[in-house]
Structure formats: C-alpha cells, structure tokens
C-alpha cells in the first residue's frame, strides 16, 4: 500500500475561507438522507414488516371477527378500526425509528462526529426526528392504501387527517429521540415501546370506542393520552369522536410541547450525550 501526497487536500483547506451558514441545512440534509438510506437498506424490517403485521389486524379483526360485529355509529367495524390501527403503527414506529436513529451512533461511538460538527441541537433534532417522522408517515400512507383493499374507507376531513398524521408522527418521533438518548442499552430501547406505547394504544380505543366502556372506565380511559390521538384521527375519517376534536388537538400540542421542552433540556445539559 502506498499513500500518495495529500498536499493538495491541505492546500485547499488552508486557502479556502470557511463560511458556515446561519442554519446548517446541509447537515440537516446529510443526517436526514443518512437515516432514510438506512430504511432503504432495511426495507423488509422497516416497511414490509409493519405493513404486513397491520394488514393481519385488518384480516383478523376487520374481516374475520369484524364481520360478526355490528356497525359502530354507522361505520363498519372493519373500517372503524383503520384509524386506530394506523395510529398504533404510527406511535410505535415513530418511537422505534427515532430512538434507534440516535441510540445507534451512541452505541457504535459515531456520535462523536455529530457532536464535533458545526451543527446546532435544533439541526440534529430536525435531521433525526424529521427522518423518523417521514418514515412513519410513509408507512401510514402505505397502510391506508392497504386498508382500502380490505375495507370500505371514507375520509371526511383529509386535511385534518394529514395534520393529525404529521403532528403525531413528529411528537412520537421526539419521544423516541428522548428514549434513544436516555437508553444505555438495547433493553431500555425496547421498554417504553413495548411496555408503555403498545398497551396504551390497545387500551386507547384502537379497536373500540371508549363509549362502549362502563362510565368509570370511560373516565379512567381519559387519562390515556393515546385516546385523544385516536379519537381525533378517527374523527378526520368518519366525523365520529370519543372526545372533542379541539381537546384532541390540544392534548397532542401539549404532548408535543413537553417533548420539545425535554429535548431542549437534553441539549442544554448534554444529558447522556456529552460528558
């Protein structure tokens, strides 16, 4: 092996004025594309697997069991569960994508490069969370299209559907980012999605309206933040909701604000990123 002169490299370096931008868009783009390319590399795991598992829910709950269940507020059971299933997938995938995205460089040690680059906290979050949210939104749209093959769909408020989709994907990707920073092992990375997000999704009205619960349980269910997300999302499809749409939006916004505040604190203190 023979290294050749690298004089030209250094000459370029020493003579070229370095003018970093106010916002390092190239860095955001680099992180975003890097994360998205990971999805492309792991297509089976990232896209195909969640689409298949969600489709199985449609087949089992929608077609097989759902055919024996009467309509809910004028919507067939198969169609009724579509927003809930989409939201469940959106929550779990957003958290999983974003947490893995930031945890993996921590695990491999490549985080040094992110921390030593002329990149602000906002740009780092924009890159990682933007990519994680994009993946979830793409998945959501694929699942929506797949659901259309199994059940009759209706979209009363498409703009609101999109707004809920984007807002929820962003919020839970931020939550995933926080989990990824907090986790110091793969087990912790799985704890929140498995032990918190999934149960809350199941109990948050993915497969039923909380109105069918006894009054006491209806009140208890309102503690579950996922109820508001699913309710608002379902309203955008069929115009039916367990709680008022404005409350759903408000709760999502509050959760988003809390996640943003935690991320801000992480970068301000360097919690588990910088020593």
């Amino acid at each position: 092996m023979n290294f050749r002169a690298v004089r030209t490299i250094g000459r370029l370096a020493s003579h070229r004025a370095q003018q970093p931008e106010i916002v390092n868009f190239r860095a955001v783009r680099a992180i975003y594309l890097f994360e998205m390319s990971r999805t492309a590399r792991t297509l089976l795991q990232s896209i195909v697997s969640p689409v298949i598992s969600t489709s199985l829910y449609f087949v089992v709950f929608g077609a097989a069991i759902g055919s024996r269940i009467t309509e809910i507020e004028g919507v067939s059971y198969g169609a009724f569960i579509v927003p809930g299933l989409m939201m469940m997938m959106l929550l779990t995938q957003s958290v999983a994508n974003a947490s893995f995205g930031i945890y993996f460089p921590k695990f491999t040690g490549t985080i040094y490069e992110i921390l030593s680059a002329p990149v602000s906290a906002f740009e780092i979050v924009l890159g990682y969370v933007g990519a994680a949210a994009s993946k979830s939104i793409i998945l959501g749209m694929i699942i929506l299209a797949t659901a259309g093959l199994f059940v009759p769909l209706r979209l009363d408020h498409p703009a609101w559907m999109l707004a809920f989709l984007v807002l929820t994907a962003l919020t839970f990707s931020l939550l995933g980012f926080i989990i990824g920073v907090w986790a110091d092992g793969f087990e912790k990375l799985q704890v929140v999605p498995l032990l918190v997000i999934t149960p809350l999704s199941f109990l948050g009205g993915s497969f039923y309206s909380i109105k069918v619960l006894p009054p006491v349980w209806q009140t208890i269910a309102l503690i579950n933040p996922v109820v508001y997300l699913i309710s608002g999302f379902r309203w955008s499809f069929y115009g039916i909701a367990d709680v008022s749409v404005s409350i759903s939006l408000g709760m999502t916004a509050i959760f988003l604000a809390v996640c943003l505040a935690v991320v801000w604190w992480i970068f301000k203190t360097g919690y588990r990123l910088k020593r």
Partner: protein, 309 residues
C-alpha cells in the same frame, strides 16, 4: 508581528460528574502549521482536552478559542476548522466508504464535491474499496476511513488521537508520511501517541500532560537539548573495586562487574569536562580498550518528567 495561535486554551478545567478532575487549569497555545505532540500516560487528560476543544465534552471552566473563535459562543466557526480522528474505531459498519465520507462532508456544511472525495479516497488508497461496506474492511482500512472522514470537509486543524494504535508497521509509516504532507500544506496537526519515538520523529513541539496538568511545553529540539542526558561509557582493561578518589569530582558510576566506568552529563555539557576527565583517567593510570556514548531519547525524558511530577 506575533502570530495568533490557531488554538488557545486558557485556564481550562474539567471535573466529571463522578468528581474526577480530568483537567486542572490547563493553558496551551498551538501555533498555525505545526505538529504538536501531546504526550502523557493513560488517564492523564489527553483525550479529555481534545474532546473539549472539539465540542464532545463540556468544559467545567476556562476558555478555548479555535482560529480566534470561542468554542462555545462561536462553535460553528470553531468546529468547521477542525477534523478529528478519535482513538476508537467508531464507524458505521453497514455504510459504504463513499457514503460515510460524503456524510461527514455534509455534516460540516460543505457542498457536495465528489471530485474532492475521490481525491481523498485515492490518496488514502481507499478508492478501490469505495463501495465496500465498512464492516468488510480491515482495522487499518477502517483507520484510513476515519482519516478520510476527518479530511472530508477540508479542515485547517487535524486532531489525531492515538492514530497508530493497533495499526501495522507499514501503515504507521504511510500515515506519518501523510501527516508530514498535510503539515507541509499548512494544516496544523495535534497528535497524541503512546509511541514516544513517533512523537520524537514527527513533532515540532511537545507538550507533556500528567494528572490533568500540563507539566511541560517545549520545542522538541530544545527539550532534547535541555533535558536530554548523555552517557560516556569506558570499557576498562582491568576491573576496579571502586571509583578512584582522584575521579570523584566527575560523579562517575562503576558498573556492577567493575569493568565499565560511566560518566553521565547533560546535553549542554562542556566538552572540556570530557577532555579533563579523560586526562585525569590517564593520570590515574586507568586503561580502557573501548568507549561508547549514548543519548537519552524523548521517551527517557518523558518517563523522567512524569515520574518527577
């Protein structure tokens, strides 16, 4: 006109959450275009110092300026000047060489420049492996990928933290050749290494850090001159039981076998003293059949300094 240092560290301290004090009031100036070797035993604070300058570790107190820019308030400008090759082989195992190097360039806000990336990869003998996943590369290749990443955004300052750790001899030589050529083109290089002889060969200036304190900063040549020791060993024809009293002023040492007289003097030592020593030995009728001189290496000086501190 006095040239501004390219890196200026003043009163820098770092106390980790555990209470461990890694750096104590460190002051250090690095000059533009030099090769500066930072030496110190394990845990001395070398990596902490580098990590703070590069933005990976938060300082507890003190200030660092890179190219005149404060690393906290003007971190973008400061960091854009720096390329870092860390000690650990931290790479994206499943990425290709091309993608990971291009990613680094983008991260530092530089526009895509495939021609430049190609040049870096060719000059580091990585071009043939540009489409290989990093996981398939040897340790030496991975080390070169890390150098390519550090050079991808055309830095003016290059940090090499133990760059030859775990690298074969051939790559050692090639890497140091690369470093020399980078320096020749105006890049400032700060390196840490356990191989003191490498620092001795490469560095313009040497800094020694121990237990978080800089105990010495000196031009390498000056350091060798000031602290270097020389030894003159005379191999005697006839064994002695003790150093003759007539030679006591020279503070000679007799080897355990009694067949060698050893005279230790510093590098600045007057030659006339050696002449008078030899004359006195002649007068004492001590005959020798051979002599040799030895000079202490930077490693000897380093070990002595660290022990002393």
């Amino acid at each position: 006109m006095v040239m501004q240092p390219v890196i200026s560290v003043s009163r820098l301290s770092k106390i980790y959450a555990s209470g461990f004090c890694a750096l104590k009031d460190v002051n250090l100036d690095i000059h533009r275009g030099e090769i500066f070797a930072l030496l110190g035993p394990n845990g001395a604070g070398k990596t902490t110092l580098i990590s703070i300058i590069c933005g990976i570790v938060n300082p507890t107190s003190g200030a660092v300026r890179v190219g005149g820019h404060d690393i906290i308030t003007a971190y973008r400008k400061a960091r854009s000047l720096i390329g870092l090759v860390p000690q650990e082989l931290a790479t994206d195992a499943f990425e290709t060489v091309w993608n990971t190097v291009s990613f680094s360039r983008g991260l530092f806000g530089r526009p895509a420049n495939p021609g430049y990336i190609e040049k870096v990869l060719r000059e580091l003998s990585l071009w043939d492996r540009k489409d290989s996943k990093i996981i398939t590369l040897s340790g030496g290749m991975k080390r070169r990928v890390m150098i390519a990443k550090a050079l991808s955004h055309e830095p003016q300052i290059l940090f090499l933290d133990e760059p030859t750790a775990g690298v074969d001899v051939e790559l050692h030589k090639d890497m140091w050749q690369t470093v020399r050529e980078l320096r020749a083109s105006g890049v400032t290089i700060i390196l840490t290494t356990h191989y003191i002889e490498e620092a001795e060969q490469m560095a313009d200036r040497v800094g020694v850090i121990n237990e978080g304190e800089i105990i010495l900063i000196e031009q390498k040549a000056e350091l060798m001159r000031k602290l270097g020791k020389k030894q003159l060993t005379l191999q005697l024809d006839v064994r002695l039981d003790a150093v003759p009293p007539a030679l006591a002023p020279y503070d000679l040492t007799l080897s355990p076998e009694g067949d060698e007289l050893i005279y230790t003097y510093d590098s600045k030592g007057e030659r006339s003293e050696i002449s008078s020593l030899l004359a006195d030995i002649g007068r004492a009728r001590i005959r020798f059949h051979d002599l040799r001189t030895e000079e202490s290496s930077l490693e000897d000086i380093f070990v002595r300094l660290v022990r002393r501190s």
